[in-house]
Every structure is written in C-alpha cells, then in structure tokens.
Amino acid sequence: MACVIEKINEIIAPENLVYAKSPLTNDDIMHYCPGCSHGVVQRLIAEVIEEMGIQEQSIGVTPVGCSVFAYKYIDIDWQEAAHGRAPAVATAIKRLMPEKMVFSYQGDGDLAAIGTAETLHAVNRGENIVMLFINNAIYGMTGGQMAPTTLVGQVTSTTPFGRNVDINGYPLKITDLIAQLPGAAYVTRQSVHTAAAVRRAKKAIRKAFEIQRLNCGTAFVEIVATCSSGWKLSPVESNKWMEENMFPHYPLGDLKDSKRADSGLYRIKSK
C-alpha cells in the first residue's frame, strides 16, 4: 500500500506534470455528456485565450443549444444570444468595441438553420470576429432531432427512418458556402477526436484569434463533433462513426486562408 501511494505521489509531483487545466477554466463540472466534443473545444478556447494573454479583451457570445452554458466554464465576459443570433450580437460588440477580441460559439442548428441569415451576413460584411461552429449533425439539447447538417439516411428523432432528401433536403455544407464569401479571411474544418486532431484544432483556433488582431475579416472554424447521446453510440463508437460517415461529407482541413493585411471592404468603425 505504501508503495502504491509513493508511486502516486511521484506521478502527481509538479515536475512530472505534463497537463494542467487552464486557469481560465473553473472547477464547475461540465454538463456535457461523456464523449461530447464541446468540453474539449471549450478547453482549447480557454487555453488559447490564456496563452495569448487576452482574457481582459475577450467577449464570448454563446448560443442556444447544448453549449448554452459555455459561459459557466471560461472565466471571461459573456453574452448569451437568442437562438441563431450570436453573429448579430457579436457584430455589435466588435463594432462598438473594436479593441476587444470577440467570438461566437454556435452549434449546427443555431448557426446553419435558425441563424443562417445572421451567419452569412456577418461573414459577408467581413465582421472582424471569430466564429466557432460545432457540427455534430444533430440537435443535442432538445433530444436528438434532425439538424441542417444531419447526413442522408441518418436516423434522428424527427427522421426516425433516416434523413430522406426528397422530404428533408440535403445536409448543408455551410462552411463551404462561407468560404465563398469575400468577407471570410480564414475558413477551416477541424475535429477533436484524436490527440493529433486536438492539437490541429487548437492551432486553428489560435490562428483564428490571431487573424482577428489583424483586422482583416471573419475567421471561421468548424469543428466536426460527436454527440454520443444523440447518435445513441458509445464515445468510442461515436468517434468511429464520425470518421466513417461525417468526414467523407465534411472533409477536414483549411477551406480558405487569405492572409490579407486589409480586406478592402468599406467598414464603419467606432473610435
């Protein structure tokens, strides 16, 4: 027994610490289900804000959906928007306080269904904000209904026999649409299902925030994510299902990277 305790003490000794949670994340237990990607992504946001030293400048805008409580976990100022309206809320915050670092955090229903207009127009205006898009192809919070990004044939509570394109239309590749807009400076699609993917996702989020500093347009990061509860799969099975089904339709990688010093767009700025 003494031997075991000695071993544990050695493992947890500060000099052996290889991972610690960001001081910007608090001790509240996250409400997310086991296997959900939200917690990982929010940890990455906290790390990026901490590493960039921008806690005092950062204002986050949360959506309606599973991540409605994101404001509970990261120690910065937040505004919670109505369903789909986060890009409009973020637009005003950034325009009125250009010195702040403003980001929206939205799920697929929020960003690509009810908030499609706000999303496309914020990017089309080249709003100088970061938009984080969590795409898990399902409505998690309300109990697993069809999302705009639900795959063809995918079973949800409102497509119990699978998504039928003749009835429900096609899974919306909104990130591909956004990449077409001149206002978008950086558009990428990432995932957090492996350690390597987490590192790439963090790099992408960091880059998005760096781009906001350059004042050159919208930085948009999609995270293809899992929803074990909604998909009714174990966390391990969810990752496998995502790789086999989501990635072919939503391939990972950069969709656009225009390193413009200035967008050239007419922009009204507050002083």
Partner: protein, 358 residues
C-alpha cells in the same frame, strides 16, 4: 440654446441620436421610417462622434445587434415600423429579460400583416402589453410633435439606463413624416470608457479584469424558483416606473363634462376638436398620455367623477380604451372613437363622435 430647424420627425430621431451621444444605431429599411437610417448615413456620425451606424440584414439582426451593444454598456438604438417591430419581438423580450437599456422607435403603420404604409396606432397593445413572450414591460413614450421625437430620444436613453430597461418611442406615420420646427440640443460627447465603468461597470461586458468576477448577459435560469424570484424583481421595477415615471398632458379639463383621451398624432387632432367644440360652448377637455406604460391612470381617475363621458380617440379598433376603463373603474362612461388601417380622422369627425355622447 440649441439650434432651431424645420425638420421631419424621422430625421429628428437621427439628429437627436447623434447629438445626445448615442453609440450605435442598427436598423433595416421599412416605410414610413426609412429616413432615420438615411439621415444617419448622410450625416456620417462615425467621422465626428464615433457613433456606429449599421444597416443590418433584417429587423431580427438589428434588435440582436442592439442586444450586443446594450450588453456592452453602450447607448444603442434601432427604429422600425409595425411589421418590423413584430420581427423584433423576440429580441425585445430578451432585452427586457436580460435587463438591457436601449431605445426602440416604432413609427407605426396600419396592420395587421403587411397592412398599409399609412399612419396607425394599432400597435398600442403590442407596445404596452408586452409584444414578445414572458412577463415584461417596456417604458413606452408617445411623441405628439417633432420636438418630442427629439426630446424622447434623449429622455429615452436616460430612462433606459435609470431602469436598465428597453424604452420604446411609439410614434406613428404622421409624426414620422411631418415637418415642424424643432430645437435641437447642442452636441454632447459619447460616454467615455470611464463613464461606462462608473454607470454600468457592475454588469456590462467590458472585458473581465482581475479585480472583478466575469459578467454574463443572459435571461436564462433553469431553476423555477430562482426564475420566479427574478420575475418578482422585474415586477418591482415596473411598479417603480408606475410610481415615478407617469407623464401626461392635460388640456381644458377642469370644467370639462367630456374628456377626450388620445396620444400621439391623435392627440393633435383632438386638440383641434377641443377648440372647435369649445367655440360652440361644449365643455370638453383632453388628456394626452405621454407615457403609455406606465399609463396615467391616476389623472384619469381624478377626473372620472366630474365628467359625463371619456372618449378614447385612437387610430385603431379601440385598444387604449380598455386601460381607460380600468382607470375609471366603472365610475363613469368610457367610449371609443377611431379609424383603422391607416385612415386618419379629421377634427370634425371626432367632434361628430363626441356629439353622439351628449
């Protein structure tokens, strides 16, 4: 002393916004109030005061931009007309629920639906009884002149921040489109960050510093008992408004046997009716509610025992008449006269209606 000008009501909204130091306007074009944003875009205040002016993709986006700006402690506003205000109902409920100060101008037109682009007062119930979901109240100011369009923008921001509550200026197509002389205030500076800190530093999202806890703008509360407590606090605030913010104008009521009650441009018409009827020896007066919420029920009750009849004159099917009846509480007769769908009655029509109740 301010500057005297001849201006349209809608243009004055824009001028007053800039001059009182408003930080941001977010809007979407709709008749009969498009001159508000057109005037702002022509005056380019971002080059002088630093005020942000943005044409949004919809009224929905506009009101949520107002939410974002208000949440940051800024003085922000929007304007629209009836169908646009319906689209904003969601955001207005969120603003009230999150206790955010802002000014919303409704230059009403005839409804329901797409309706007409002619003047109307058919959004009285929407403005004073909620309009969006949940138990909330706006402070509602009803301008009856171009000068009041100007004054109520300034007053609106004062009240909005005093109560951390959205304020609605409930105008109509007549007030928005007509030209009158107006005295404009001198240019005031926008609030500095220090002033915002002093006034709203306890709640606004100005960026979390080491010396304070994070600020979260939200109307979400999962615990029903907590939500009820929160609602009780809101109701206490609305009660405070009822006690302290009632505004009205009383014309020729002291000897009156009949009292017309009208707001906005309907009150202007009734003022003429009072003159016409008085010249014929009819003892008639006018009460003009300036705040529609809180409603001036005490002054109406005060005159109730002296008059034979109150007549509510409205450009709608009779909405304010119910608030008058509640105020009068059965003491005397309360009737309604109005026109609908964008039709504006003449002073003579109102007099004819009055004559029916002799």
């Amino acid at each position: 002393m301010g500057e005297l000008r001849l201006m349209k009501g809608n243009e004055v909204i824009a001028e007053a916004a800039i001059r009182c130091g408003c930080d941001g306007y977010f809007g979407y074009p709709i008749t009969p109030q498009s001159e508000v944003m057109e005037t702002l875009m022509t005056l380019r205040p971002w080059e002088t005061t630093g005020m942000v002016v943005l044409q949004a993709e919809s009224e929905i986006a506009s009101i949520h931009m107002v939410y974002g700006g208000a949440g940051a402690g800024k003085r922000v506003m929007t304007s629209s007309s009836s169908p646009g205000i319906s689209l904003m109902a969601e955001g207005i409920s969120y603003l009230a629920g999150s206790e955010l100060p802002c000014v919303i101008v409704n230059v009403q037109r005839g409804g329901p639906g797409l309706g007409t682009i002619q003047p109307s007062q058919a959004d009285y119930n929407q403005a004073t009884k909620g309009g969006g979901h949940g138990d909330y109240s706006l402070l509602v100011l009803a301008p009856a002149s171009v000068q009041e369009m100007h004054d109520f923008v300034i007053l609106g921001f004062e009240l909005a921040f005093k109560y951390r509550n959205p304020v609605m200026i409930l105008a109509d197509g007549v007030i928005g489109q007509m030209m009158e002389k107006v005295t404009l205030i001198e240019q005031r500076p926008r609030w500095t960050n220090e002033q915002i800190q002093a006034l709203s530093g306890g709640w606004a999202t100005t960026g979390k510093t080491a010396d304070r806890k994070k600020h979260v703008i939200t109307s979400l509360e999962m615990d029903a008992l907590m939500m009820e407590k929160y609602n009780l606090r809101l109701q206490a605030k609305y009660l405070q408004m009822k006690q302290d913010e009632v505004r009205y104008e009383v014309i020729d009521c002291d000897d009156a046997e009949y009292i017309l009650v009208a707001f906005g441009s309907a009150a202007r018409i009734c003022q003429k009716t009072v003159q016409i009827a008085r010249a014929k020896g009819v003892k008639v007066g006018l009460i003009r509610p300036i705040t529609l919420f809180p409603f001036p029920d005490k002054i109406i009750a005060h005159y109730a025992s002296n008059v034979k009849c109150f007549i509510s004159v409205e450009f709608n099917a009779g909405q304010m008449v119910y608030d008058i009846r509640l105020a009068v509480n059965g003491v005397t007769r309360v009737e309604y006269f109005g026109r609908m769908g964008g039709v504006v009655p003449t002073p003579d029509e109102v007099e004819d209606a009055l004559n029916q109740y002799f």
